[in-house]
Symmetry: C2
Subunit: 334 residues, 2 copies
């Protein structure tokens, strides 16, 4: 069973994988070469993954057979395990608990050659609806306090398989970074009686200088205090605390802005590796007046070095105004 351990000073929890413990020789010295071996996410290889928990199919065949357009499976090497109780306990000054949680993989397309941004808007909309479906299902499990959807695209971003996929992780605690966001947003709300994300979105839409694109329900911006060059946030324009309450028309608008944002990013930076994360309200929370879900998209262009690790204080060599203008003004065919 993986173990959750809490840093006694900072209060940050860490997942320690006690089972598949890596020894020094397990860490590659050279970057992995791309090999032509069997892809477990391709059609006809369904038996090389754990049995699916959700799929979209066009041919009416049964589960775990070809004919799907989207497939959700438990992660074969989960960071957290679905079975068991938390069993919080101490070890002297330290605190730990069992690594209980869910870790699923959303295989976004049967086509091994396509990235998320290459898919049609309708296909991306199906992926969004699959995210929604899985979150609504896992919210029923009272052990889970937070559910996060994220995507690692490219090896530099930590993807271990190249076939396009996202991941879902449900955790028994609210992660520290999320608590910081909630605390900051609540403090602002207590003072102003307005949602800080609504205020940011409004100011950005009015000033235009950091806007990349907008459509009916969403806006893509380069955030004012971008940590990384070409960092992008996608914000719902209207106040909306939890991603999983997204309506179908809004999901279509979200799919559209994801496609256009990723297309501009990959043209500008030659298909960079990136991490994309949906930040949403914790499960069963009453953060509904001050929190506002959004996407954070981080292209992997620079390396995080000692100064950033030590301080949590980032050095960004590209202004968000330059990044936004570049992405906004570039020509892409309709």
């Amino acid at each position: 069973m993986p173990e959750l351990r809490k840093d006694p000073v900072i209060g940050r929890w860490v997942i320690i994988s006690t089972e598949r413990g890596k020894r020094p020789s397990d860490f590659p010295i050279e970057p992995k070469k791309r090999t032509a071996k069997l892809c477990p996410f391709c059609p006809s290889n369904e038996s090389s993954t754990p049995p699916e928990v959700f799929s979209l199919r066009t041919n009416g065949e049964g589960p775990n057979s070809p004919g799907w357009t989207l497939r959700v499976i438990p992660n074969k090497f989960p960071a957290l395990r679905i079975e068991g109780d938390l069993n919080r306990e101490g070890e002297g000054i330290f605190d730990k608990m069992n690594g209980v949680g869910a870790h699923e993989v959303i295989i976004e397309t049967p086509d091994h050659a396509k990235d998320l941004g290459d898919l049609e808007v309708d296909e991306i909309k199906d992926i969004i609806k699959a995210f929604r479906e899985r979150i609504l299902d896992l919210k029923k499990d009272a052990r889970f306090k937070y559910i996060m959807i994220f995507k690692n695209q490219g090896e530099a971003a930590g993807a271990s398989l190249e076939h396009s996929h996202s991941q879902l992780i449900a955790t028994p605690i609210i992660p520290k970074r999320v608590i910081e966001e909630l605390d900051g947003a609540k403090k602002y709300f207590d003072y102003k009686e307005r949602c800080i994300f609504c205020d940011i979105t409004r100011q950005e839409i009015n000033s235009k200088i950091r806007v990349i694109i907008r459509n009916e329900h969403f806006v893509s911006i380069a955030p004012f205090a971008s940590r990384f060059p070409f960092e992008i946030w996608i914000m719902p324009i209207n106040h909306s605390p939890a991603f999983e309450n997204i309506k179908d028309d809004c999901a279509a608008s979200f799919a559209g802005i994801i496609k256009e944002t990723l297309t501009r990013l990959s043209r500008a930076l030659n298909n960079p590796a990136y991490n994309m994360i949906i930040h949403s309200s914790p499960v069963g929370s009453d953060h509904h007046n001050f929190y506002h879900w959004h996407v954070e998209l981080i292209p992997k262009l620079t390396k995080v070095a000692g100064f950033e690790w030590g301080t949590g204080f980032y050095i960004n060599p590209t202004t968000p105004e330059d990044a936004a203008r570049y992405l906004r003004e570039m020509k892409i065919e309709a």
Copy 2:
């Protein structure tokens, strides 16, 4: 002038380099090849760096000429600028100020072929004394609230030059990560009336399972909630808030444990890239009963992926107990 910008939700400050703004084409697609071009940190190339602010010399020659054993220079491409005032101001909902600060480079050896761990204990002791010297000097500048020493070793850790060096950065604000440490340590002190780092160090020394090595004044441990495989902390055994108050005998002990820890790490993991950071008390602070300086050493073995970015919640595939045992039990020649 670089600009400091504050994330309005989280409160995290970011340095935005407004001058040498990087455009998309400035980010390398392929990793840089090692080229045999002139190294600005090698002896006889002193004129290719800014004039030195400190050096140790064996030959009595003047500054900025060969004959040094250690040299401190301002960073040629500083993240922060030494001149000017902060000029805090708003931009609608957002906050910013000028990027005032110091950014120096400590060239640790004239020998291009040696890494920090290859140097003699006495040479490492000189480096520690140079750190101390520079911090004591910069503490006189009332604009600086925090001074951090860090080292990026290897390209994967963000080092842009391979000649062994550390960096010093003095910032006009206390970085968020440091505030979190101070807050956590203060909360513990308020409750227990003891320093949390002293308690951690004592527990680790008694239980031995996460100890790598110890000497008279220091202990190297794999921390209980390690974020990364083979993460190491070097702790002063006796309570000591600020690194720059280190006495000479203690500096010799610190040099000894740095050398042995780095030697074990590079044997175990085939000379990995790493970040090493000295965490110390802020300038002019009254944190002297509850804060305890220490080193955090992070080998770069895994990539930080979307889940970690989104949550601040790390997944570590190697238990600290395994890492400590491996590093402790390995044979190294005396």
